[in-house]
Symmetry: C2
């Protein structure tokens, strides 16, 4: 049996991108349930689904409910479920599958490893969909479902997924914050952030085509003390950025030392 | 008058990419001078230039010498120049133009804002070439020369360039080091770094198509305390990574607070 009728709990960025991809792939999105009426209504309209703002309406004939809510809202949603569901999965990187125990006949995880923003289309085909399931039949069903929208489907258990999510925070959230620091530093000199666009694109390409260790360049790697000191001097009025500068430079030097050994 | 005969001091990654681009654009690379014979020979062969390992051979009819050596080698090279040159530029982000005073009739800077690795082709056309010159005629000559190989030529003074280089260290070197941390974390769970490739590519695209501030996502931004704590617990045996985690999370939260104000 394959899962064809899908319900969503949540109408945020993750729910939006998954539901729209599934709808386009010919799957039947039966209902969007979200506390906020207006995103639920928009997503329902986009996917031909019904919508509701109450968890009491989880009886819409969905073969699986995909709960795509913020990590810290998961427990609250579970506690307000009106009854045991036939199948329930969450989409959280850092939450174990066990949190769903007792709330559905079959439980699983459907974690898309990507950064989603509103109004920004993402090519779901390439997004790694990380599947976990409490039993073999749901595992097969979820893998089939995932392959309808992505070519990159993997079985990842809760322990691995937690570590994967942590790695993603470094590679995505922290990286983006460093872009933000760079933008601030440029604007202080009246320079546009666009100057860095080719460098940012090439840095990302290099790390994936070579490897981060091989791709490393810069004054910290060369142990160019004069440049390191002059950079720290430039940051003397930005203590937090200076602290990041010192810490990241030390990390680069230690990683490089380990590599050489 | 435009500069057509170019000499290079240095045969590393920056010299390689500039000289090869200029050669392809039909400019005449007359000589490569580098302490190490073998890279000088390779680059000379690639560009149809002569080569030498001695600074005493700076008489090859070059209209401008481009000194592309590591930042901390610049002073040493200058001190060993046999005579005052007609025109001399350096390619350093963090070095003021004034360091060249007295070593040439005309002095300038030709700073390509990109991360270069050996054997890795770069589309020079898009690379910002940041020009500075001690006088108006050299400025015009350098801008003409730069436009032969790039569509992205800018006049940037020494103070701005220093700040630009600092911003580039955050956006490129530190970002790449974070990719390295992510790779280490994954390998600890037997997961391949390839899993993060789509996320890394999208994070870079988002920051340039939206802006880093708008693009920010993740547990720190949401102030999801449970996830932040569980991530720090995962890093208990990696004190340096834990310190980076705490510092970057705090930075994301403070940037977000400022944005809202």
């Amino acid at each position: 049996m394959s899962l064809k009728k899908i319900g969503f709990i949540g109408a945020g960025n993750v729910a939006w991108h998954l539901a729209v991809s599934m709808h386009k792939a010919g799957l039947d999105i039966v209902r969007i349930v979200s506390r906020s009426a207006s995103p639920a209504k928009r997503l329902a309209k986009e996917t031909g689904a019904a919508y509701s703002t109450s968890l009491r309406s989880l009886d819409a004939g969905a073969e699986v409910w995909i709960m795509a809510v913020p990590d810290d809202a998961i427990t609250g949603v579970l506690e307000h479920l009106p009854s045991r569901l036939p199948a329930l999965v969450h989409t959280s990187g850092s939450t174990a599958i066990a949190v769903l125990d007792g709330y559905a006949e079959r439980t699983g995880v459907f974690y898309p490893l990507q950064t989603f923003s509103a109004q920004r289309p993402v090519s779901m085909q390439e997004v790694p969909l990380c599947i976990e399931a409490g039993d073999v039949t749901l595992r097969e069903d979820l893998e089939k479902l995932a392959r309808r929208i992505s070519d990159n489907v993997r079985y990842i258990d809760s322990k691995q997924r937690r570590q994967l999510h942590l790695a993603a925070v470094f590679a995505c959230n922290f990286t983006n914050a460093l872009y933000g620091v760079a933008e601030q530093l440029l604007s202080g000199e009246g320079l546009p952030f666009e100057l860095l666009h080719p460098l940012i694109a090439e840095t990302a390409r290099k790390a994936t085509e070579m490897s981060p260790f091989e791709a490393q360049t810069g004054p910290a790697l060369r142990n160019d003390r004069k440049t390191l000191e002059s950079h720290l001097a430039l940051l003397r009025n930005h203590p937090q950025q200076a602290e990041i500068y010192a810490l990241m430079s030390r990390l680069i030097q230690e990683m490089n030392t380990k590599k050489k050994k």
